[in-house]
């Protein structure tokens, strides 16, 4: 509220303005409940993401901050960091997209049994804790790696770009895999038939028909992976070595140099390309898909059965999946071993260490906070989806974008923003008096030991996935179902509660599960706002890795995986199939 606004209100009342609801000539049937919900949602998003982002901007655009921003172009050291970041993004983007595509192609187009297992293994990295892949890779093929040194006797150094690339591709390819899987499944097999009928061989059809139709998919996957790769903080810290990227540079500035201004400046430099790429991906590439998703594929799907295609494709798939299995086996075996690769003695000491003291507390705190954040993120996501698809006509794109910011903005930037914004109370000075709008929510001095800020980070980071699945689900539901409810006397909030929410429950459930997994495994924003009173598992894992106690880190990762997988299983059991009149999306016979 500005001063101009408060001044205007008394002036109006003295003039005796007519009550606004009855003003003639205003032709819109105004939907007050919806307007109220929009205001509340925007206010929540304002606190959760806009205010922290504005804080980063405030610091980075100060005189000294701007100096640092400029140095990323002028200073050779800083320029190298920017180049490193882009190189990493590009390499991971290309390799991750290719890997994701090949695996999706095998899954959809090649005939083999066990597709379900293939699919689940491809998705395993999504729920994996950070560091799990990096530490396992170091153990397997690092300087003293079991495979490279122990079995082959090599002296390899994977710290830096090579190691980072392997780990990031292994962690993020599922995004591309899911993307391509959906597209390939929706490709009309009649196109293949038509191409064959016109005299093209399978190979020609693949090059001339299938691939060109997937071009938007390649662009989208590349951009998504690019953003994920440049935003990642955990892996550059563990396996980056001397290869510094913007995220790790910002982290060092804040935690090592205690220089918030420089940290914000690096964040800004990281934020700009990330946001740009995100916008291009979501609003430009995303709309250019040539694959019709709405049309029902006609004709019989024909799978690749001929050995000349099947054998190499399957061999490749099995190879990749074996690598994934090997990585997670290393984590689990490592958790029960003294020092994997050097002293392979069975031990429970790692778990003993992890389950006592700080470790035990961090498990409890993390799980509790994630469980608090999950339903909030889920409901907020569905609400956003409903507003975007059904209620808000003008500005729905902007609202959607606000909700997606939690995904578009790199976690490091979110974390630094939270540290600046919420570690002190928010006070506003109006004409000599100071009003406190918000108490300190993060940092050791805040209430609940800074837990509020952590829950907020969890919510804003998990919101986008729920919002997306909600939007997709809502677009499938015939709008006249909403209208029928309104016509029977339900006002818009009642429609949401009694019709929309029950209908998008499967999407809601998926959103919840993803929100929980993401909260439990998120590190980059959390690292800046944990406090001695609130221990978070991912931060503890980082500490163990830093100290070189891989066994403890493996034990933490194993526990984290167990918690995530069992809560996911429990949730789907609890929320699925209670008094279900089986959901039929859309209407009609």
């Amino acid at each position: 509220m500005t001063a101009a606004n408060t001044a205007a209100t008394p002036a109006n009342t003295t003039l005796g303005a007519p009550p606004p609801a009855r003003v003639r000539g205003r032709r819109k049937a105004f939907d007050w409940p919806t307007a109220a919900v929009v205001v509340v949602v925007v206010a929540i998003l304002g606190i959760l993401i806009i205010y922290p982002l504005a804080s980063v901007f405030g610091q980075a655009l100060s005189a000294r901050g701007w100096e640092v921003v400029r140095s990323t172009l002028t200073d050779p050291v800083n320029r190298q960091i920017v180049v490193n970041t882009f190189v990493l993004g590009a390499v991971v983007g290309v390799l991750g997209t290719v890997l994701g595509f090949l695996l999706a192609y095998v899954q959809v187009k090649v005939a083999f049994t066990g597709k379900r297992w293939f699919h689940l293994l491809c998705l395993l990295p999504v729920v994996s804790p950070p560091f799990a892949a990096a530490t396992a890779i170091i153990t397997l093929i690092g300087r003293r790696g079991i495979i490279t040194h122990g079995m082959l006797g090599l002296d390899t150094n994977i710290y830096g770009l090579p190691g980072l690339t392997i780990v990031l591709v292994m962690s993020f390819f599922p995004v591309a895999y899911m993307n391509f899987k959906g597209m390939l499944e929706n490709l009309d097999p009649a196109l293949d038939d038509a191409s064959a009928n016109l005299g093209a061989s399978k190979w020609t059809t693949f090059w001339k028909v299938t691939l060109p139709m997937l071009v938007p998919g390649f662009a989208a996957s590349f951009l998504l992976l690019f953003v994920e790769a440049i935003a990642d903080l955990a892996n550059p810290l563990v396996i980056g070595g001397d290869f510094t990227v913007l995220a790790s540079r910002a982290y060092i500035a804040i935690t090592g140099e205690y220089d918030i201004v420089a940290g914000s400046a690096y964040s800004l430099v990281l934020l700009m390309p990330a946001l740009l790429v995100f916008v291009v991906q979501q609003y430009w590439v995303g709309r250019r898909s040539t694959v019709s998703v709405t049309g029902k594929p006609a004709g019989q799907k024909r799978l690749i059965t001929h050995p000349s295609g099947r054998v190499p494709l399957l061999a490749f798939g099995v190879l990749v999946l074996s690598a994934i299995v090997l990585i997670y086996l290393t984590v689990i075996v490592g958790a029960f071993t003294k020092i994997l690769g050097i002293n392979n003695e069975f031990t429970l000491a790692n778990f003993q260490y992890v389950l006592s003291g700080i470790g035990n507390e961090s498990i409890k705190d993390t799980t509790l906070l994630a469980l608090i954040a999950t339903p909030i993120a889920g409901i907020l996501g569905m609400l956003m989806a409903w507003l975007v698809v059904r209620k808000v006509k003008r500005g729905s794109g902007l609202l959607d974008f606000l909700g997606m910011l939690g995904l578009a903005v790199p976690g490091t930037v979110v974390g630094i923003g939270y540290a600046i914004a919420f570690n002190t109370p928010l006070r506003v000075q109006v004409g000599g008096t100071t009003y406190q709008l918000l108490p300190a929510l993060g940092g050791g001095a805040a209430m609940f030991g800074g837990a509020v800020a952590i829950v907020m980070v969890y919510v804003i980071r998990s919101l986008p996935s729920g919002q997306r699945t909600g939007i997709a689900a809502l677009q499938q539901i015939d709008p006249s179902i909403d209208e029928a409810a309104a016509s029977l006397g339900a006002e818009s909030t009642t429609v949401f509660r009694t019709v929309t929410l029950p209908l998008i429950r499967p999407a809601f459930l998926a959103g919840l599960i993803y929100a929980f997994a993401r909260s439990m495994t998120t590190l980059s924003p959390i690292i800046f706002i944990t406090t001695p009173q609130t221990q978070i598992m991912t931060k503890q894992i980082l500490a163990e890795v830093d100290a070189g106690r891989f066994g403890n880190a493996f034990a933490f990762c194993t526990l984290l995986l167990i918690i995530v997988l069992s809560v996911m299983g429990l949730m789907s059991l609890l929320l699925r199939g209670r008094n279900d009149v089986r959901t039929q999306i859309g209407a009609g016979a």
């Binding site: 049937a29 179902i481 029928a484 016509s487 339900a490 818009s492 009694t498 009149v581 859309g586």
Partner: protein
Amino acid sequence: MSTTDRHRDSGQISLTRLVKEFTGRDGTTRAVDDIDLVTEPGEFLTLLGPSGCGKTTTLRMIAGFETPTSGEILLDGADMTRLTPDKRPMSMVFQSYALFPHLSVFDNVAYGLKLKKMSKAEINESVESALASMDLVKLANRAPNQLSGGQQQRVALARAMVMRPKVLLFDEPLSNLDAKLRVQMRTEIRSLQQRLGITALYVTHDQDEAMSLSDRIVVMNRGKIEQCGTPDDIYRRPATVFVADFIGQANFLDPASVSVVDSSARVEVLGSQRELPAAPGSAEAGAHAVLVRPESVRVTRTVTGEAVDAAPGESVVGGRGRILRAVFYGAVVEYEIDTDAGTIIAEVADPDPSAILVEGELVEVDFPRSRGWLLPA
């Protein structure tokens, strides 16, 4: 349902200068262009027209799903124009049925009553009688996707009916059903509406539906009302060429000379002078057409060399023509005949097998005086 005649005195919708504009990428289009319309209480009124004529937009404005650009919507004198749909005492039946997929048949029908905060006993009673009247009692616990299309439509009807609305709105409710079921549902909708005496507004592009259901039909074209009248008016005495062409099949004959006095005209067509009734506005019109429906056309084989016999009193000397095409449909034979007034379609019902004409034959073409209708072209 127990009550009858409850709404005989209410349910009057009146639209005044109603306009709806949509703004898209290629500028503003007027979907509904300055419409005035008043329904009688308890009337069954159908909005009929080709797709894009504005009929559905009009209905959706009345229901409250679209906000008029300008104009007014009154229900029994109360202004509805700015009310949200849930505040209007109307219920709508949708083309896609729009049943709530997560609710049973019973709960679908009970949905609106629960929002009215009625007692449980009252709800049960109302829902049960609604289900009984639609023959749905046995299906009460089914989910909508376990029902056939016709059953789903009945549920949708029961759900709207149970609310005892002042007006029932129908948005092409039968277009997803197969032909036989459509005819059957038509009858049910009509008898139910008459039993309850609720005003009904029905949108369709199917003229059979409009003819069989309606007290009055409103024919719309390009956002405007072309004509509003009884089915008989619309079919026999269309106001415009558009209406005549849209409803049923039409022959438009080109008259050689026309003189109009009030509502009748002397017209020279098909080689003879005829006295015909004329549509309002014919006198002022610059060009005219004579409407003759195919079933009114008389076709007789020309007997070469012999004069055509003329029944006394009947408008006689018909024009001559040649059969271009003859199609046997079973119940009727359809002829396409080339005449000096244009190509004429003639339909002969219950054709005598030995008398069916073939392509190239010369015929005499005529129509009874009362079956011609002069229109401004």
